[in-house]
């Protein structure tokens, strides 16, 4: 039965939820970007602005991807922000006072991330405790430990790290001319490359590996996953372990970007990561979501903040309100998409 040429609407209807929400996110992102260009004038036309957004949000992208994986498998992890702050402070102290080098600092970051992922994974997967309570405690534990490691914020003087922080990877032929007519190359920070790599690798894991598909099955229907022969406990444990691992990497990338340790680092990052995942098309009920969508979700968040800022609402408190408004808008869109599906 050859399928007749499906009309756009028809193809839209029987698209999988994941792809449908993904297209919504990408379309929304481009609309916003065009809106930003209108509002902000020529600043947004230059590619370097896009790379600046990418550099500033590299760590948030990695954290959001970790969070999306956990949300796809039907759980949640709000300790990523706290872990990031702890990683920054520990690496800073390790480098400046303990005389470690950048590589050992990176290992330390991974160690902290994996430790959090491991413990929280055990508590949630095997002891069956509510994920929100475990990770809420994890967040507060991490925030508390950050100040215990070192009370005052301080900038890292370790030359190797400062050099790493300021390295500029030129992006060929995407530069722009400044007022003096000189040609300045567009550049990207190391963190941005790591973030893009993480997104691509995770996209591959979720799309093509057995573990990735098990995450989706687990999120779709936990009881069915059990009956279909998937080891539900182990899969959920791996999800949290992976999220912990990624918050370790994200923490280190944030450390590279900021180059200092402070208790208030990445404050609210977990909320932004959840908002970015939902805007990126990850369903709260689990089973639906895509890391590419989350990548655009993070970029949409910072673009909308740029728009709101340049529209004159430039006080700090507008960022919180815009994120909450976006979160609410996309929650409503998701519930409409879900109910349209259920009605069929």
């Amino acid at each position: 039965m050859a399928e007749k040429k499906p009309s756009i609407l028809n193809r839209l209807r029987n698209m999988t939820d994941t792809n449908l929400l993904l297209t919504i996110t990408i379309v929304m992102f481009f609309l916003m970007y065009i809106g930003a260009i209108v509002f902000q004038g020529k600043g947004f036309l230059k590619p370097q602005t896009f790379f600046n957004i990418l550099n500033a949000n590299a760590a948030l992208i990695i954290l959001s991807v970790g969070l999306s994986i956990v949300m796809i498998s039907g759980s949640i992890d709000i300790s990523v922000g706290g872990v990031t702050a702890l990683v920054c402070m520990s690496c800073a102290v390790h480098l400046d006072y303990k005389g470690g080098n950048v590589f050992t600092a990176f290992l330390l970051a991974l160690g902290i991330g994996i430790a959090f992922g491991f413990i929280q994974g055990i508590l949630i997967a095997y002891l069956d405790i509510q994920p929100f309570i475990v990770t809420l405690a994890g967040m507060f534990f991490a925030r508390g430990m950050t100040t215990i490691v070192n009370t005052n914020p301080f900038n890292v003087e370790n030359p190797a790290l400062v050099a790493l922080k300021d390295t500029r990877i030129p992006v060929p032929f995407l530069g722009s001319y400044n007022k003096l007519g000189e040609y300045i190359n567009a550049y990207v920070e190391i963190g941005a490359l790591v973030a893009v790599a993480v997104v691509l690798i995770l996209f591959f894991v979720l799309r093509w590996t057995r573990l990735g598909r098990n995450f989706y099955a687990l999120g779709g229907n936990r009881q069915s996953a059990l009956m279909l022969g998937i080891n539900v406990k182990r899969t959920k444990f791996y999800a949290h372990l992976l999220c912990g691992f990624l918050s370790g990497i994200g923490g280190f990338v944030y450390f590279l970007h900021v180059g200092s340790g402070a208790p208030t680092h990445a404050a609210g990052a977990e909320m932004n990561a959840i908002a970015a995942s939902i805007i990126g098309g990850t369903l709260l009920t689990g089973g639906v979501g895509n890391v590419i969508g989350t990548f655009f979700g993070v970029l949409s968040l910072s673009t909308i903040q740029n728009i709101v800022n340049s529209a004159g609402l430039d006080d700090a408190w507008w960022t919180g309100i815009t994120i909450a408004a976006m979160l609410c808008l996309f929650l409503v869109i998701q519930s409409l998409v879900l109910s349209r599906k259920k009605k069929k």
């Binding site: 004038g41 400044n178 007022k179 003096l180 900021v258 340049s310 409503v332 009605k343």
Partner: protein, 353 residues
């Protein structure tokens, strides 16, 4: 079908609530810069201002003065960015200004180090950078065009000199003066200058400086730090606060602990010295004698920066460092003038209530 319909109408009610929050911008916002969206015509000068946060009355007064200075003059358009106490936000803001090819960048740096790379980018983009309120430490000081702000060390010396002349006039011997210092954000120019002045005066005149702890320039942290001091030491008779808000916190902590705040140390009162003197509450506390003396720190940098930018506009070169003039206010009549490295400063005496 019914459940879907009521779900939709609920969702629109929620959406409505959120949009009303966004849309009905409050009245007083209108006096800040009104944004015209059409492509800015060539002659409007674009000025990017990266403020470091909104942690104290002084800071809010500073922000308002900046915004007013540039909104009243339609030749300029101010793009304001709030760094929320984080250097990373301010760096991102400056990079955004560079992309928008602003004509001038005004920066109130939250800390002194870590600005070389981003200011180098601004220099390459040929955008002059004017520092406000706090200094930065960098190898090549051509990275910034000029600095407008207070000479914090001078403020510190004025206050400590006033305190010294007050102590000698009341014939209190230096050894039984026990001072605690509630510091501002560690690493900010204000904190460094004011703490340095106190340390120098303490070992010059022989006061014993019991303890120094960071109060983050806020009232809540100030109160917390003062409560901890009072529990650890019971012989405190002078509190040196590095801004108004910390003083308010310290005073409420002292009163909560059942002690009395006032100038006469010998009768067991605790003397409070402070900086800024911006809010009416601070002035009224001075009149009531709750705060014995305040070294003023003038937040109104708007007009000074505006004049610098107009001189730059016509090709002139403003002087590198320019300090705003500041005085000392107290309700205590015993000291009239203060001399710091042989320069006299007038003390304004407020009539006591």
């Amino acid at each position: 079908m019914h459940s879907l319909i009521n779900k939709i109408c609920y969702s629109f009610s929620i959406l409505g609530l959120m949009l009303t929050l966004l849309a009905c911008t409050p009245g007083q916002y209108s006096n800040s810069v009104s944004q015209n969206n059409e492509e800015n015509p060539q002659d409007v000068i674009l000025v990017g201002f990266s403020q470091l946060g909104a942690e104290s009355d002084w800071r809010s007064a500073n922000t308002v003065s900046m915004k007013e200075a540039f909104s009243s003059d339609e030749k300029y358009r101010l793009v304001f960015e709030d760094g929320q106490q984080k250097q990373s936000n301010q760096i991102t803001a400056i990079r955004k200004f560079i992309q928008q090819e602003v004509d001038y960048i005004i920066l109130a740096p939250v800390t002194e180090e870590g600005w070389d790379t981003v200011l180098q980018e601004a220099k390459e983009a040929d955008i002059p950078v004017i520092l406000v309120d706090r200094m930065i430490s960098c190898q090549d000081d051509s990275l910034y065009t000029c600095f407008v702000g207070s000479d914090f060390e001078l403020e510190g010396y004025k206050l400590t000199e006033w305190f010294n002349s007050y102590v000698t006039s009341m014939r209190i011997n230096a050894s039984d003066i026990n001072i605690v210092n509630i510091q501002g954000n560690i690493g900010s120019t204000a904190q460094i200058g004011r703490t340095e002045a106190l340390r120098e005066a303490a070992n010059k005149y022989g006061w014993n400086l019991l303890d120094e702890r960071c109060g983050e320039f806020t009232e809540t942290k100030g109160k917390e730090v003062m409560t901890a001091f009072l529990q650890e030491y019971d012989n405190i008779n002078v509190v040196y606060c590095e801004n108004d808000n910390e003083a308010f916190g310290a005073i409420s902590a002292i009163e909560a602990a059942g002690k009395k705040v006032g100038p006469n140390i010998e009768r067991g009162e605790i003397m409070v010295l402070a900086f800024d003197g911006v809010s009416e509450k601070a002035v009224s506390y001075v009149k009531e004698g709750k705060i014995t003396c305040i070294a003023e720190c003038n937040p109104l940098h708007g007009p000074r920066v505006h004049s610098i930018i107009s001189t730059l506009g016509v090709g002139g070169t403003p002087d590198k460092i320019s300090y705003v003039d500041e005085g000392i206010i107290t309700a205590n009549t015993s000291v009239k003038t203060v001399t710091v490295n042989d320069k006299d400063y007038q003390v304004t005496i407020l009539d006591k209530e």
